[in-house]
């Protein structure tokens, strides 16, 4: 009778062979598609592309939704695959959906500032969407750092925004137990820049993986049997891995400004933030705000996100806690329905 140790090794060997068979198969000569919902580019500027998703044959809502994703990682996470696509769910509900793809900064972008991102690139995208849709106002859906940009934008350009949704968005960067804030609090970020002058995406990815080192670097690669025996699960896992390893460098100036203003000095929450000489006060937001955060988020802990409630007038503010982590909050099949229900009910 095989020992328990031998049995464990045998299971692993069988799983490993199955995985290799999967990867050897003819249909695995390329990576699974990501971001496959039909779309067109309606504006380009330097590396930025403003994407319009083609509407489905359902009754269309009037106000467009512009999704603003973070500079870290790629925005196709909102359209990872049809079953896990926030974009597709919004289209199915008749929302005109637009998305900003910030692109991959290179050495010529190292002087791009936060002001350039918020009052330049984001401003011009908002104007494009308004003109394209003949709308006076749009709805902003900001995710993570994109949520911070969206809040700053709404505070600075209130006339452009009808409603704003923040998803897993940090507000109080000094909330208790926020490891990222503790680690970055006293460092000179310039040391992180590489020979292009920018902050390497790989470094940021390493930083995130260090938040839960044993889980994110070892444990997730152990349980392969659930993946191997179900082709759909494997494809989803591969897409997620592709996304996790697709890390654009960060334009240096903007990254350093973000680190100092938000992680180190917590200026947005402390009402001390200025951009291009203008005060950015969340208190000046006078439109409805829906704040969605994740209960198991290790990157933006719930307290960090829900601190937004301290700044927005009660009559404008609503929040929902979602089950799951930072990414699972909008990609998990379990959470997605709750998310989309909360979104559509509130937007309507």
């Amino acid at each position: 009778m095989p020992s328990s140790k031998q049995k464990n090794e045998d299971v692993w060997q069988d799983d490993f062979v199955l995985l290799m068979d999967q990867f050897s198969a003819v249909n695995r000569q390329s990576l699974p598609d990501v971001g496959s919902t039909p779309k067109e580019v309606i504006y380009q500027e330097n590396k930025l592309r403003l994407i319009r998703y083609l509407p489905l044959n359902v009754e269309q809502k009037k106000t467009p939704v512009l999704i603003v994703y973070a500079l870290v990682n790629r925005p196709y996470i909102v359209d990872l695959e049809p079953g896990r696509s926030l974009v597709l769910r919004l289209l199915e509900n008749g929302y005109p959906v637009y998305l900003i793809d910030w692109g991959y900064p290179d050495s010529s972008d190292c002087f791009t500032s936060l002001n350039d991102y918020i009052n330049g690139l984001l401003y011009r995208c908002v104007q494009r969407v308004k003109r394209f849709t003949q709308s006076k106002q749009i709805d902003l859906l900001g995710i993570c750092q994109g949520g911070v940009f969206s809040l700053c934008y709404t505070a600075l350009h209130p006339a452009d925004v009808r409603k704003i949704i923040t998803l897993v968005t940090p507000v109080d960067f000094h909330s208790k137990g926020n490891s990222l804030s503790l680690w970055t609090n006293s460092i000179d970020g310039k040391v992180l820049s590489n020979n292009t002058g920018n902050i390497p995406g790989g470094t940021i990815s390493l930083l995130f993986r260090t938040l839960k080192p044993f889980q994110l670097n070892r444990d997730k690669y152990r349980q392969i049997s659930q993946l191997v025996q179900n082709k759909k699960n494997l494809a989803t896992f591969l897409r997620m891995e592709q996304w996790l390893n697709d890390n654009p460098d960060l334009a240096r100036l903007a990254a350093l400004q973000f680190m100092e203003n938000f992680y180190q000095k917590n200026r947005l929450h402390n009402k001390e933030l200025t951009i291009d000489g203008e005060d950015v006060l969340l208190e000046s937001i006078n439109c409805p705000v829906l704040n969605l955060y994740a209960e198991q988020d290790h990157i933006v802990p719930p307290d960090c996100a829900s601190a937004l409630s301290q700044h927005i007038k009660a009559e404008y503010y609503e929040e929902h806690a979602l089950k799951g982590g930072h990414i699972g909050a909008f990609t998990s099949l379990k959470t997605q329905q709750k998310l989309i229900n909360a979104l559509t009910n509130w937007l309507n």
Binding site: Q29, Q127, S179, L182, D188, K190, V191, D219
Partner: protein, 253 residues
């Protein structure tokens, strides 16, 4: 049906090697390597559990966990190495960095040497914290095992390993000592980077190449031009849109 013999293991690794040498996407190769490594890790962990004299703390080694000591470590950012590597008298990072400096100007300035010594000291402190982390994780693990009254199967042991490691990491990485050592590492790295830039600048001067300042000015100029053009374009298109609206309104009258 697969028989679990050494022959099977051999054929598995032959299949693995063949796939790594094949033209499947690099992403798949990286995944296969990760699965292989973690499979080994788990098997080794379970095997070592049976050895009462073994030092289990090595299973919570942070640099290994983050991949700094394996073949793919080259992919990591060089400037992070001192956080996770320390080889005693002269760590690989320090030696290679010193070589880089030597080859550029054929001498290492006293300031650079001072910075390297400071870096070694900070790196040694970080190494010590990593050891404390491993020991704390082991203590956590033993507690968790005791709490489960010895009735643990392999999966439970693995879950204990995971919980023990994450809890120990959280405790150590949020401590004042860790934050302080991290700050020292960044400061010394910053000093080294400054030295490197000075050397590069001297080297550029010697060869008559543009200085970094000139390159920065050029990049700023390009950046400004791009912004001005985008603003001009936006302004023009907004105006056209506005005028088109007026014209349409007039036409409809």
């Amino acid at each position: 049906m697969t028989t679990k013999t050494e022959e099977t293991s051999k054929s598995i690794f032959e299949q693995f090697d063949a796939l790594i040498d094949s033209n499947i996407p690099d992403e798949y190769k990286a995944l296969l390597k990760s699965f292989k490594e973690q499979g080994f890790f788990f098997n080794q962990f379970i095997q070592t559990m049976g050895d009462k004299d073994a030092d289990l703390s090595a299973f919570w080694n942070l640099p290994n966990t983050l991949g700094f000591n394996n073949a793919s470590a080259d992919e990591q950012h060089d400037w992070f190495r001192p956080f996770f590597e320390f080889g005693g008298d002269s760590g690989g990072f320090n030696a290679s960095l010193a070589e880089q400096f030597s080859s550029v100007l054929n001498r290492v300035t006293q300031e650079t040497q001072d910075s390297l010594i400071a870096l070694q000291a900070a790196s040694a402190k970080m190494n010590q914290l990593h050891k404390e982390l491993s020991e704390l994780a082991l203590a956590n693990f033993q507690d968790l095992k005791k709490q489960s009254d010895g009735e643990t199967n392999e999966e439970q042991l693995y879950q204990h390993w995971l919980q023990a490691g994450e809890e120990a990491f959280k405790q150590i990485s949020q401590s004042d000592d860790y934050i302080q050592v991290q700050r020292e590492l960044f400061e010394t790295l910053g000093q080294l980077k400054k030295r490197q830039e000075e050397v590069a600048s001297q080297f550029s001067n010697l060869l008559g190449l543009p200085s970094q300042q000139s390159m920065d000015d050029l990049q700023k100029g390009l950046h400004r031009l791009r912004n001005e053009f985008a603003e001009y374009r936006e302004h023009t298109e907004a105006k056209i849109h506005e005028l088109s609206g007026v014209i349409n309104e007039l036409k409809s009258k």
